[in-house]
């Protein structure tokens, strides 16, 4: 009986834990949205709030630009090389540009940028906040009447969300450039023809749905990193566990949310 019940109990506990975590995330995002007024708009706190926000945007976004651009450039190039032989059979090698534009603009630009940002910023936010918990810095903030949500979480969530959208745009451009470079160098597709096909294939709504997804991805990355970072227990080991969990959980969450969005967009005909 115990052997039969054990998997059921484990599944139940896992599902309960997942819903508890989702509840915590929702609360945290709600607190952060409410906290925007305290952090950035109220007279007291505004001075540090804005400088914190700029610092985080630089750290999260600006420093990620080269790596996101490089990764997406390579993905654009890889897609071109992978698709070219198939399309050549149909005598439509130049349609590589159409495929890359749709794939990068709607899907790979936001998703790959988000995965890079998870490793770059998500892990670093979780480790930073976790270390602050361990070294009593969070408690010291509370003792100084400074709410960690307003002081730490709000700037990180806003900056990650905004910079994720910007990074997705950079990633889109880099991916298309990667395809264009490969098309020109190895497939005999002129840049003019490539550009023409790209703009023909890519509608504004494709680009915008990608950016909407990117914004949600940014919010998700920062929310999971902040939640797990602030929840650290057990010293240095706890920080390591939180950082690893942040990367794993965020990537799973990104893919799941991406599927959800793509399904909704598909059925809405967007």
């Amino acid at each position: 009986m115990t052997t039969v019940l054990r998997p059921i109990v484990l599944i139940y506990l896992g599902v309960a834990e997942m819903f508890r975590f989702l509840g915590d995330l929702t609360y945290l995002i709600g607190d952060a949205v409410f906290g925007v007024r305290h952090s950035l708009l109220r007279k007291q706190g505004r001075r540090l709030g804005w400088s914190n926000l700029w610092a985080q945007m630089d750290r999260v976004g600006v420093r990620s630009i080269p790596i996101v651009a490089l990764v997406l450039f390579c993905i654009g190039a890889i897609l071109a090389l992978q698709m070219a032989p198939v399309l050549k059979d149909y005598g439509a090698r130049e349609r590589v540009a159409d495929i890359i534009a749709i794939a990068i603009g709607r899907e790979l630009g936001p998703l790959v940028s988000a995965i890079v940002l998870t490793g770059f910023a998500g892990a670093s936010i979780a480790a930073e906040l976790g270390t602050m918990v361990v070294s009593e810095e969070i408690e010291a903030l509370r003792a100084n009447a400074i709410d960690p949500i307003y002081f730490l979480v709000v700037p990180r969530m806003i900056s990650t969300t905004i910079m994720m959208v910007c990074l997705a745009m950079v990633g889109d451009a880099a991916g298309v450039l990667g395809g264009m470079f490969t098309g020109n160098a190895f497939l005999g597709i002129s840049p003019t023809l490539y550009r023409h096909h790209t703009f023909d294939a890519l509608k504004l709504k494709d680009f915008l749905t990608g950016l909407v997804k990117a914004g949600v991805f940014g919010l998700l990355i920062s929310a999971i990193a902040c939640r797990l970072g602030l929840g650290v227990t057990g010293g240095a080991e706890g920080v390591g566990v939180a950082t690893t969990r942040t990367v794993v959980l965020t990537i799973v969450a990104l893919i799941t949310v991406d599927l959800l969005f793509t399904s909704v967009f598909f059925f809405l005909g967007w």
Binding site: Q44, L48, T131, S135, E139, A143, N144, A145, I146
Partner: protein, 268 residues
């Protein structure tokens, strides 16, 4: 006759079915330096967290400046926290900021003072703790004693009425420890603040304390002046104060209460 500015009224705190504090009562009188002593796990750090309002009681109450911490709104609790300063055991400096920025943080967050005024105030606070020359250093570049002094400068940034110290001399060599004690006494005189010091360092406790209380397994078992504590005939107080290897504390462990003693609570 000085009056009580913080009154702990039967405060109880329970973590995961473990009673850390069990209905403790304590008055902190204006202007005094009160030392809360106790072994590891006796509940003294929890007591401190309750008094600064970072953690709320599960039973009883704490009345600070005439207002119940439990009944305060979050804004009122923040206002109370702005009127007290806390030196944490590790100093708890914000590692991403310089010493000067650490001290300036509460001023930038809670006041509308112009930057030039804040810079002057930061220099004054750092001079009080002897760290003015190290203002631009990052916390990682400071020694243990300097970190505590920087933490103290941040604690006094908003000119608090009460200063709380969590193990101020823990982990320091005897000379640095004596320097920190002297600094605590000097600040008390210069700023006229009330101090609550949590420690288990007896030398330090006797040097700085006007009054002492001893916490054991979540309850206060003795209180008095340093002289009264030294003369106490209670064997448990005697053993703790003089750091004896034999006595009721160690007998308790031998009698099978080892786990309770170690964890500082009574099971069930």
């Amino acid at each position: 006759m000085s009056q009580a500015i913080i009154q702990v009224e039967g405060a109880t705190k329970v973590y995961e079915n473990r009673t850390i504090l069990d209905g403790v009562c304590l008055d902190v009188m204006a202007g005094e330096t009160l030392v809360i002593m106790g072994g590891s796990g006796s509940g003294k750090s929890t007591m401190l967290r309750l008094m600064i309002g970072n953690v709320l009681c599960d039973g009883g109450d704490i009345v600070a400046f005439g207002k119940s911490l439990l009944k305060m709104t979050p804004d009122e609790r923040d206002e109370y926290r702005r009127s007290v300063g806390v030196l944490f055991q590790s100093g708890a400096l914000y590692n991403s900021m310089s010493v000067a920025d650490n001290v300036a943080l509460p001023l930038r967050q809670h006041t509308d003072l112009p930057e030039q005024t804040i810079e002057i105030m930061v220099k004054i606070k750092l001079e009080l703790v002897g760290l003015r020359q190290h203002a631009e250093k990052m916390p990682a570049m400071l020694s243990g004693g300097m970190k505590k002094r920087a933490g103290l400068a941040r604690a006094i940034a908003l000119d608090p009425k009460v200063l709380f110290y969590d193990e101020p001399s823990a982990g320091l060599d005897p000379v640095t420890s004596a320097e920190i004690d002297q600094l605590i006494m000097d600040l008390n005189k210069k700023l006229g603040v009330t101090s609550v010091v949590v420690t288990h360092e007896m030398d330090s406790a006797f040097r700085i304390g006007d009054r002492m209380v001893l916490l054991d397994r979540g309850k206060f078992i003795a209180s008095g002046t340093p002289e009264e504590m030294k003369k106490s005939t209670d064997p448990l107080v005697h053993q703790f104060v003089f750091g004896l290897a034999t006595g009721p504390l160690t007998d308790r462990r031998l009698a099978g209460g080892y786990e309770e003693d170690l964890m500082g609570y009574e099971n069930g």
